[in-house]
């Protein structure tokens, strides 16, 4: 069980006189849950996502971002720690956060020429495994070198060649192929350069593929549904549902639209306005929003305030 | 070579010239300093590769080309209300303080031998002054040269939040036996948030050697755009340069030329990024025909402090004849890594498959070629805000195309 916890998060753009964007965000996402974070443009949704992942453009002025990991979350890492752990993510580099199981699907993924998908993903996976070792070693205390037996998820790549801290090429190819089939992606993607020349939809599919391979504890999906046609929307939704069901990932889904929520039903819906979460509810709230629009929320909120 | 000019031009010539124009002492001093400096100054930079000099300016017989006291011209200077369009002499009379402050502030008179010569000997010019927050369109200056040599000077000052679009053109009138020399210096200063589009159309006759240097400075959020069209002259060295000194300043330098017979064009477009958030776009397109030759140098120079620079340069030359020659050198000098810069250059002929396609639609070869050449200029013509400049250049191109064998 993993829980991502945002407490009273305040943030501004990291430059002199930078604009304040977040004004006290509280949010909790645990393994296996699906949350939808909705709100009009400029309300602070994407900023929230970027701060969770550690984007350098924003400065947190108050509040905290915590990640609680129950010990079952790191049993497969071969460490002997009896207690659950809590990490203050704001102290960690983006790659360390990724290693602990935070995944951000970008609204606008970077295009990187010359680096093939397969090379990139295998490097990322191995970097994650290696970084986890270091992170947990610091916390291990009286370390016991004894390896734990496999107790993880059936499809976990972490069962792999952990001795070298590396997933081998052949093994990885197979893993990649499986995940690509799941998302109905063409095999040739593996040999293409990372996002270079991908269509908008292909990029989004690729983000979900990466989540499937890295098996995060908590995935933040920033407008994963924009620019997708209906077929691809279904593929992407399947990918997200599989993440929850097979990996137990907690999902924070940022979206403008009800559309994807028809395929990935949220357990919780949060509505953001001017840097705060102003309304929370279940899937019905999203439907209400679809009917009445954000003005309804605005009126509702500012009247009561 | 400089001694040649010294033979016919001396201090007394310059003093006489200045006196006839009724100039103040400081201006005479500036002229005399420039004259003095001639001896030590080099000719404008030209590109040299192993065994080849792209343009030879030192080889001209300046002594016989330069006749400073015989200058004759016709000049039209018009502009709308709210903006001052004055002859240089009027401007010195009416705004001496302004002229004294601005003269030589963009182009150092002693930049090179030819700028110094021009400063020492210019007898005519135009000053365009646009006060704060004034928007001016259609400022037009037309110079018709009637003598062996003519040295011209132009100053454009656009104050804060003003804008101006102007067109300056050079032509030759009465015939003169033998070769001629035209020299023009243009200084453009765009103040904070000001916009200047300076267009020029050079159509001197083909016995004229032509040297022009146009430099602009853009202050904070200011923009200086140049449109440099060259059709005439025997040989032209025409340099257009913008100094982006203000934060957020911009420039667009558009060049178009059409060379034929034995014309030689040496065209330079240069931009100096010297502050943050500046943008430059350099676009030049030229056609060369017969035995003509074009030389192009483009420079995008990004200084150490020019953070967040965007800089683009494109140059395309179309060769209509096998005897023509096109030389090009687009350069990038980048000293700040927070830069997005690119340049491209192409040289080629009219596309054969395009010709075939048009032929298959029953368009005769000659018409097809003319259409493609005219089409080639479209991307640069689209940038021109003054209709007259666009129309006239288009007409010049059409005339040249029609006169082809």
């Amino acid at each position: 069980m993993a829980t991502l916890e945002l407490n009273n998060l305040h943030a501004e753009v990291a430059e002199d006189g930078g604009e304040t964007i977040l004004r006290g965000v509280d949010l909790e996402v645990s393994s296996g849950e699906i949350h939808a974070l909705m709100g009009p443009n400029g309300s602070g949704k994407s900023t929230t996502a970027k701060i969770i992942a550690g984007h350098p453009s924003y400065e947190v002025t108050d509040g905290e971002v915590l990640l609680h990991l129950d010990k079952d979350e790191f049993e497969t890492d071969g460490v002997e720690i009896d207690d659950d752990l809590t990490w203050d993510l704001l102290d960690l580099e983006p790659n360390e956060r990724a290693a602990l199981g935070i995944f951000l699907a970008f609204q606008y993924p970077a295009e990187i020429e010359g680096v093939t998908m397969v090379n990139f993903l295998r490097t990322a996976l191995n970097a994650k495994l290696e970084e986890r070792e270091e992170l947990f070693e610091d916390d291990e205390g009286e370390a016991d070198a004894e390896e734990e037996d496999d107790a993880g998820y059936d499809t976990s790549p972490m069962e792999g060649d952990v001795d070298e801290g590396e997933v081998g090429v052949a093994e990885f190819q197979q893993l990649l192929q499986e995940k690509m089939e799941l998302l109905d992606m063409d095999e040739k993607f593996a040999q293409r350069y990372l996002n270079a020349g991908f269509s908008g939809g292909e990029k989004k599919q690729n983000e979900v593929l990466q989540a499937a391979i890295l098996e995060p504890s908590v995935a933040v999906l920033d407008e994963i549904d924009s620019g997708l046609d209906i077929d691809r929307l279904q593929d992407v939704a399947n990918g997200i549902n599989a993440l929850r069901e097979e990996v137990g990932t907690g999902v924070l889904q940022i979206t403008h639209y009800q559309r994807i929520l028809d395929y990935v039903e949220p357990d919780y819906v949060h509505i953001m306005l001017d840097g705060e979460i102003v309304k929370e509810g279940d899937a019905d709230l999203a439907k209400q929003l679809e009917e009445k629009g954000y003005d309804w929320v605005r009126e509702d909120v500012y009247e009561t305030a | 070579m400089s001694t040649q000019v010294h033979a016919s031009v001396d201090e007394s010539t310059v003093r006489q010239l200045s006196e006839e124009l009724g100039e103040p002492e400081w201006l005479l001093e500036t002229r005399l300093d420039a004259l003095d400096a001639l001896e030590d100054l080099d000719f404008p930079d030209v590109i040299q590769t192993p065994g080849r000099l792209w343009t030879d300016l030192a080889d001209l017989d300046y002594d016989s080309l330069v006749d400073p006291l015989g200058a004759a011209e016709e000049k039209d200077q018009v502009g709308p209300d709210g903006v001052e369009v004055l002859s240089f002499t009027e401007a010195v009379d009416e705004h001496e303080a302004l002229i004294r402050e601005r003269f030589g502030s963009v182009i150092d008179p002693q930049t090179n031998y030819l700028t110094a010569l021009s400063t020492a000997l210019f007898s005519t010019g135009t000053v365009v002054y646009v006060p704060e927050r004034v928007d001016a369109e259609d400022v037009k200056v037309r110079t018709t040269m009637n003598s062996r040599s003519l040295f011209n000077y132009t100053l454009v000052v656009a104050e804060e939040s003003s804008s101006v679009r102007l067109l300056e053109r050079q032509e030759t009138g009465e015939d003169v036996d033998g070769d001629r020399y035209y020299s023009g210096l243009v200084e453009v200063a765009a103040g904070e948030n000001a916009y200047v589009q300076y267009g020029s159309l050079q159509n001197l006759d083909q016995t004229t050697y032509n040297y022009q240097l146009k430099e602009g400075v853009a202050d904070t959020y200011g923009q200086v755009d140049f449109i440099d069209c060259n059709a005439g002259s025997r040989l032209s060295k025409s340099s257009v340069e913008t100094h982006l000194r203000g934060d957020g300043s911009e420039t667009k330098i558009v060049g178009a030329f059409y060379g034929h017979e034995d014309q030689h064009f040496d065209i330079d477009a240069r931009v100096w990024h010297r502050n943050e958030n500046t943008t430059a776009d350099l676009v030049t397109r030229g056609v060369i025909d017969d035995e003509s030759r074009s030389v192009y140098e483009g420079v995008q120079d990004v200084g150490r402090d020019a953070w967040n620079t965007s800089s683009y340069q494109r140059e395309n030359t179309l060769m209509l004849s096998d005897e023509s020659e096109a030389d090009a050198s687009p350069k990038l000098i980048i000293n700040n890594h927070d830069t997005e810069a690119s340049h491209s250059a192409t040289v080629g002929q009219v596309d054969e498959s395009d010709m075939f396609y048009m032929g298959s639609r029953a368009i005769p070869e000659r018409t097809a070629k003319n259409m493609l050449v005219e089409g080639f200029y479209v991307p640069v013509l689209e940038e021109i805000a003054v209709d007259e400049l666009r129309d006239d250049f288009e007409r010049l191109v059409r005339d040249r195309l029609d006169s082809r064998d």
Binding site: G54, H55, E113, L214 | Q110, A326, T339, A345, T346, Q349
Partner: protein, 476 residues
């Protein structure tokens, strides 16, 4: 204002004059590079009279020619003092070339060798430490195979003795004459060592011919001359130099490379150079390509204080082709000025130039290239692509191409871009678990990928590893 300038000019002139006086008095001293020095070298090598004459003529030209330092942005060569060279090249003076022992090498070089994982014996040979590395044996087997086909691969000194006719015709005559530039002239006067490769008609040499281990004694490898003659329809891939840094106390490397590509022949010349950071690397490399021949230049320039290197191809015969692939990497205090020159002198000739450069920590890279299409070279095409990546604001990246087009039925395209490593790209990779260094290295590897994919695999791996080493410590 002008009077101030005049004053400055005067003092400058005077200073220059003073400098000249000093220089010439040093020149007259015995240690200087004199005719006598050249005679001693030639005599020691037991060279024929014609070679001595060529050396002496080259020396004369060297003295007359100007330094190539007046080009825009050209590296500062004022520290190069050729008179210092004499002790390194005179066989009668006890040599000071290289370091005596491994331990005497600068730490950074030892470090690089260790990280490249090069075995001790090779380290000694490659780093210029005096020990002889028994490279001859490695090549014995291959050489037997080649000899059967009439392929010659030998030391240049040996070639002067044994293949005099070929050398007389091809050595610094129509390809790189000593008059080409000042350092070609110097090279012509004092050249020593290098390789001679001769491939007869219709012969394909399967294995790349490597001069990797040949630079193993003092002085060699600093003024080495490479002569490759590929006859009609032959094929050979020559690999020179090595990615390990080569250390010498004397700071000038001035090699000469001449390639003759016969009709329909195909020559690839690959080199990854990583000279120690005190070296001035000033080379002249040229190929003359006959009808339907193909010349490929692949170069990686990593080390040195300053490099000036512009491999050129003269496409002499119709249908001749040239490919250039270059990578330049400039770190702290390095000025890497490289490029390509191509002369299209016949119809249907084709050239492609692909250049990638990386600058960081105040280093400067410059692409300086010339493409000349002569009148009559119709249906020729050339395409030039230069991309530069800058790491920080102290560095400089310049691009200076020159195109001279005298023929209208051509297709000429040049493109260049300069960019930086994007923060968003780094963040994206970091969010997937790569640390900052790995993320940047991955982006750099991607950037040079189009070039490394053209290199033989072991070179590509080494080049990547070297670039990783160069970036180490400067990142993060």
């Amino acid at each position: 204002m002008s009077s101030d300038q005049d004053h400055l000019k005067e003092t400058e002139t005077e200073a220059r004059f003073e400098f000249k006086k000093e220089e010439s008095s040093a020149f007259e001293a015995e240690k200087g590079l004199t005719e006598e020095t050249i005679r001693v070298i030639s005599e020691d090598k037991d060279e024929p009279e014609w070679m001595l004459e060529r050396r002496l003529r080259a020396l004369k030209q060297f003295r007359q020619m100007p330094m190539p330092d007046d080009w825009p942005g050209a590296p500062d060569l004022s520290e190069v003092d050729v008179d210092e060279i004499v002790p390194y090249i005179r066989p009668d003076i006890e040599t000071r070339g290289g370091a005596e022992n491994w331990e005497d090498l600068p730490d950074e070089i030892q470090d690089t060798f260790d990280k490249l994982g090069i075995p001790e014996a090779e380290k000694n040979a490659l780093s210029g430490v005096g020990a002889q590395y028994e490279s001859e044996i490695v090549y014995q087997n291959m050489q037997e195979q080649w000899e059967e086909k009439g392929v010659i691969f030998c030391d240049m000194d040996q070639a002067v003795q044994e293949h005099e006719e070929i050398l007389k015709e091809h050595f610094m005559t129509k390809n790189v004459p000593a008059s080409d530039n000042k350092f070609a002239a110097l090279h012509g006067a004092i050249w020593s060592g290098g390789s001679f490769v001769y491939v007869p008609e219709n012969v394909t040499v399967q294995m790349p011919v490597q001069a990797y281990f040949r630079m193993n004694s003092d002085g060699m490898g600093q003024f080495e001359h490479t002569l490759i003659v590929a006859e009609e329809n032959s094929e050979v891939h020559y690999i020179e130099g090595c990615s390990a840094p080569k250390y010498s106390e004397f700071n000038l490397h001035s090699g000469g490379v001449e390639v003759f590509v016969g009709e329909g022949a195909h020559v690839q010349y690959s080199t990854v150079q990583n000279w120690s950071k005190n070296t001035y690397n000033l080379n002249t490399k040229r190929a003359i390509v006959e009808k339907d021949g193909t010349m490929e230049w692949v170069s990686g320039s990593m080390g040195s204080k300053a490099t000036m290197l512009y491999p050129s191809s003269v496409l002499k015969g119709p249908g001749a082709t040239d490919n250039h692939i270059t990578i330049a990497f400039a770190g702290e205090n390095q000025n890497i000025d490289t490029g390509a020159k191509v002369y299209h002198n016949a119809p249907n000739t084709k050239s492609t130039i692909e250049s990638k450069s990386i600058s960081k920590d105040g280093g400067r890279t410059n692409y300086r290239g010339l493409v000349h299409i002569a009148d009559g070279a119709e249906n020729s095409s050339t395409s030039v692509e230069c991309d530069a990546l800058m790491f920080d604001n102290e560095s400089t990246s310049d691009t200076m191409p020159y195109m001279e087009i005298q023929e209208s039925k051509v297709d000429v395209a040049h493109e260049a871009t300069v960019g930086k490593i994007g923060d968003e790209d780094v963040f994206y990779l970091q969010s997937r678990g790569l640390d900052d260094d790995d993320a940047k290295q991955m982006i750099v590897a991607g950037f040079i990928e189009p070039i490394t994919e053209e290199l033989p695999i072991e070179y590509a791996v080494e080049l990547n590893r070297l670039i990783e080493l160069e970036m180490e410590g400067s990142l993060g």
